[in-house]
Amino acid sequence: MAIHVEHELHKRRLGRNVGLALVLVFFIAIVFGLTVVKVTRGDYEPENSVIQN
């Protein structure tokens, strides 16, 4: 039985890897979006008293 380079197994592994890559890219986008929202609306700004000191 010949071993083909493009076996069905390889396609499935590629699909799995591409799927995981897309999930990770999506996660990065979510974290980036959350960071932008939280920083721009001032969630992480120090209290006024801290700035004055």
Binding site: M1, I3, H7, E8, L9, R12, R13, G15, R16, V18, G19, L20, I30, G33, L34, V36, V37, K38, R41
Partner: protein, 312 residues
């Protein structure tokens, strides 16, 4: 035959991305997403769309992770029941260890991320929900008592409370009532399924009510829980999340649901078997619509409220 021969059996068993995704029980996840979204949008505090989107996503991931842990623990039962034989573990595509690793990792990930994205209380409530579903329901109640689905139903009822907590950071009467709606809905929904699933649960040794107490008792229970559910569902119309749209929806749906439950209660097994459990199946179908439309009505009230149309 040579040493270089390929083991084709192993190849066909290797999981694809979709098999891992199936571990997360996508259909259950869609209910979690919808009810959590309604809980979030019905809350009296506005949430930034990005935070709302991320929170719902993390709630969905947490719900999916608990599904993976459920499949890890119940792999032996799933292999016996026809309804679950094609799941990734019994079909041999994913190993139990993989399911456990994915379930634990995603559970921790989802709770931490929800805590960071929304607030710590929402993250903690999601953690408790996963604990309740996996430990209290799956590991303890499911194989021990015929009340498994009654108490265990609480796990599926938490998502609207988590959605509400994302917006408000706490719990209120309205969020507890949304919890109660799903909690009271779960037993009649599941018992109707049990009636026409025949011997699946019996074969798997799961002490569902119809296995331990018989189908007559199950029919009685469906009617009682449907009547109790109607009180909760209609009563919710007069709270902060209710209004005329919700009241109309609740009255119509509960009327239909009670009629269905009475019809199931009046039948015996011979009659049901003769028509292929037609009434039980239609009651089960209606139960899906029931929950979707009740939460849909809550969503409609919340969406129309800013225009002076929703709510009382």
């Amino acid at each position: 035959m040579s040493d270089a021969s390929l083991n084709t059996n192993v190849q066909t068993q290797e999981a694809g991305f979709g098999d891992y995704f199936a571990l997360l029980k996508p259909r259950v996840m869609s209910l979690v997403v919808f009810t959590a979204m309604v809980g979030l949008l019905a809350a009296p505090v506005a949430v930034h769309p990005m935070i709302a989107f991320a929170s719902i996503l993390f709630i969905a991931v947490g719900g999916g992770a608990s599904g993976a842990l459920n499949m890890w623990w119940d792999a032996d039962i799933d292999a016996v029941m026809k309804r679950t034989q094609s799941r990734p573990i019994p079909s041999g595509k994913v190993t139990r260890d993989e399911a456990f690793a994915i379930g634990i990792t995603l559970s921790v990930f989802a709770c931490i991320m929800l805590g960071l994205a929304a607030n710590l209380f929402a993250g903690a409530l999601l953690a408790f929900t996963i604990f309740f579903y996996v430990v209290i329901y799956t590991m303890w109640l499911k194989r021990w008592t015929p009340q498994n689905i009654v108490i265990g139903g609480a796990a599926g009822a938490f998502p609207p409370m988590i959605g509400w907590a994302v917006a408000t950071g706490g719990v209120s009467v309205e969020s507890i009532l949304m919890f109660t709606l799903t909690f009271m809905w779960t037993p009649p929904h599941f018992w109707a399924l049990c009636l026409f699933m025949k011997s699946d649960y019996k074969d798997a040794g799961v002490p569902m009510l119809h296995v331990t107490h018989g189908r007559r008792v199950t029919r009685n229970h469906i009617l009682v829980y449907t009547l109790l559910l109607a009180v909760v569902a209609v009563g919710m119309a007069f709270t902060g999340v209710g209004g005329p749209i919700y009241l109309t929806t609740a009255l119509v749906l509960n009327g239909l649901f009670i009629a269905g439950a009475i019809s199931i209660w009046r039948r015996d097994e011979e009659v049901a078997e003769a028509d292929g459990y037609k009434r039980e199946k239609s009651f089960f179908g209606l139960s899906l619509l029931y929950l979707f439309l009740h939460f849909g009505a809550i969503l409609a009230e919340a969406t129309l409220a800013p225009y002076g149309l929703g709510g009382w």
